[in-house]
Symmetry: C2
Subunit: 400 residues, 2 copies
Amino acid sequence: MHDISPIRAKSGTNQEGTSAHNRRVMIEALRLNGALSRADLARATQLTKQAVSNIVEDLERDGLVVALDAVRKGRGQPFTPYRLVPEGAFAIGLQIDRHLTRVVVVDLVGKVIARAEAGLPLDEPSAGAKIILSLVDRVRRELASLFAQSERRLVGLGVAMPGPFGLRESDDKWMMPAWQQFPLLETLAAGTGLNVGLQNDAAACATAERIVGAAHGVDHAVCLYVGYGIAAGLILNGELYNGGNGNAGEIGRALLSPAGPGSTPLEHRASLASLYQHLGLDPAERGLYEKLGALALAQDPRVMGWVERAASDLRWSVHLIETIFDPQTVILTSSAPEALARLLLQAMHPLLPSIADRPVRRLPRLQLGTTDPWAIAVGAAAEPISRAFDPRFSAILKAG
Amino acid sequence: MHDISPIRAKSGTNQEGTSAHNRRVMIEALRLNGALSRADLARATQLTKQAVSNIVEDLERDGLVVALDAVRKGRGQPFTPYRLVPEGAFAIGLQIDRHLTRVVVVDLVGKVIARAEAGLPLDEPSAGAKIILSLVDRVRRELASLFAQSERRLVGLGVAMPGPFGLRESDDKWMMPAWQQFPLLETLAAGTGLNVGLQNDAAACATAERIVGAAHGVDHAVCLYVGYGIAAGLILNGELYNGGNGNAGEIGRALLSPAGPGSTPLEHRASLASLYQHLGLDPAERGLYEKLGALALAQDPRVMGWVERAASDLRWSVHLIETIFDPQTVILTSSAPEALARLLLQAMHPLLPSIADRPVRRLPRLQLGTTDPWAIAVGAAAEPISRAFDPRFSAILKAG
DNA sequence: TAATTAAGTCAAGCGAATTGACTTAATAGG
DNA sequence: CCTATTAAGTCAATTCGCTTGACTTAATTA
């Protein structure tokens, strides 16, 4: 009856959706609680013992869970705890940065199995794509040499790169214009035969924090990422939030005051790019990371000057994030050396008053996340894992 | 095995969840598309014709949908469109404001069936609760006089009041401290026998925009509400987002610059409270609404002065909202007279540059929502309707 | 040693979507 | 004008995953 405008509707579901959801719920429960008996799982998920038994049997056959030794505890029959099998699934994560590309393979619980990195030509995406594909190929072969059946257990390729995506061509110097035009995701999908997903750096950080870090099991968390640019990764209702066009959280582009077009974006004052500029360093320089770490440890006055100013802006960013999202916690992550990140964290205190300043809190208002330089690549890899195994609304529906 | 710390897990689902979801999907499809044949529904939801037929038959028996006359169109058997029955469900909405309380009954499609209002004693919540209960009773009896079976079709009571909720006791003059302590929701639940839900003003506005306004069928929208205070109602992934403690979107409390504790909250500069102060008006004054409307129409210079300053701050708020949420559209709503809201909207242009400034847009960056003073009460009532009938993840699970 | 408690299995049942053939009723085309 | 085609919708049988309730197993407690 409507042949012109398509009918808008969510898709329905059926028993397959039910079963898919319940499997995911089991996996999440084991991920969050370590090891559980089938009786525990039944209580926690409100399913019957029988249903849980069947699902666990399935998962065991699929190599995603294993039984541990039976445990005697109090009266009643001893229970058999089950735990996730890390090598039950793998995913590849790819971080594309301005001067470097990193590739990792992670397993079901987010542990890094293999890694590789290489420099990228800034202005030649098709040559860059070849390099990337060869890196992917390398880690993939390494994985295959370590685990039988690894190819069958590879659930996807996650890509993380600096956002925002899909804007009108911009002369913004943070961007890599040549790459913006290049059909990277399609090239990678074709070249690897894997499902490919895309996130920005901060989203990948948040995904990493959720799978292995401070946001593990937290349903409302915001990950403030200070890298070459600045952005926030948003975990809302237990899922990464992407916004209407995949650019949610790009707070680096937020103007710092109501004053108008003349005022400065946050990114120009508090990002590492601004630090490099402040120090007169070349971001492409070799050994930059170690150098920064040393300067931070030594509390170099010029670094401290930047830290003070950046911390003031970041403190206010945390205030805004708390006011707008009401998260359970804010996680500060950075591609900077840990010593520098700690300086920033310290300088951000005391935090500004906000609605997060509640009488009782289970989690700190602000905490330091991982500062491992490989975290973004891990987060990139965690995305396909999450897509494949975490409970989510879209997993129940018949179609995306 | 875990007797100390409770096991964290999402609940599972079963055929009931499947069926509940599919019913909701049908209702949403009819809400968004007007009237659809069973074949249309089957295509749109990806369910089989047979499944749809069964569900529609159920819904028809429950009085939620009706068949229209068969329509001949092209080859094939004529189809029978179905549409929602507005009187298939009702909900009561309650707006508690500082000087006034409004109660409405709305039907399944968000139309107001009955309304009532009264003043409230600011410092005597238990006397206030009695007044509220009598208002609810009045509209409930009016509803019963209009529709048979109305009690059976009443799905809940939604409450909207100024947030934020649950903070440490505060001397903030916008708050109503005596009310913060009072167990209002419990009193209302006990007094009405209905399910009771709570939202802040802005969330209610967003809910109203979603059911009958500019956010109808839009999955990512932010509703910027300028009332006595200022807040944002967040529609993310098609659902209202509440945050970790139900206070998401309370941007009125956002400080306007990184400068520190001395800087001003948005609410002190751009809310109607600030306008009243600017004009030396008493917010409790009778006829204030009309007076403001007249001043706005006359473009009174003192009003225009406030409009300019407020618009500058609100323009920046829109910039922040766009940068942080990447919504499809931002909707400006207000409890002010429409003329004043239009002045504000106008003065907010041109908008600041942001990631929302994309080459192709389906929806405007900023649009005016409803300025009906009853909108918040309608949004309050829409919440139980949405909870009962909209597709959502939590509706599939076995428990909340 | 018997009663109690709890984990887990067995087998039948149920319910909602699926499947595929069938009916109905219209238009398009020769 | 008649037949082929197209599409809506029904019928009846099937499938599949969860539920139910009884039962088994194996520990602790009294």
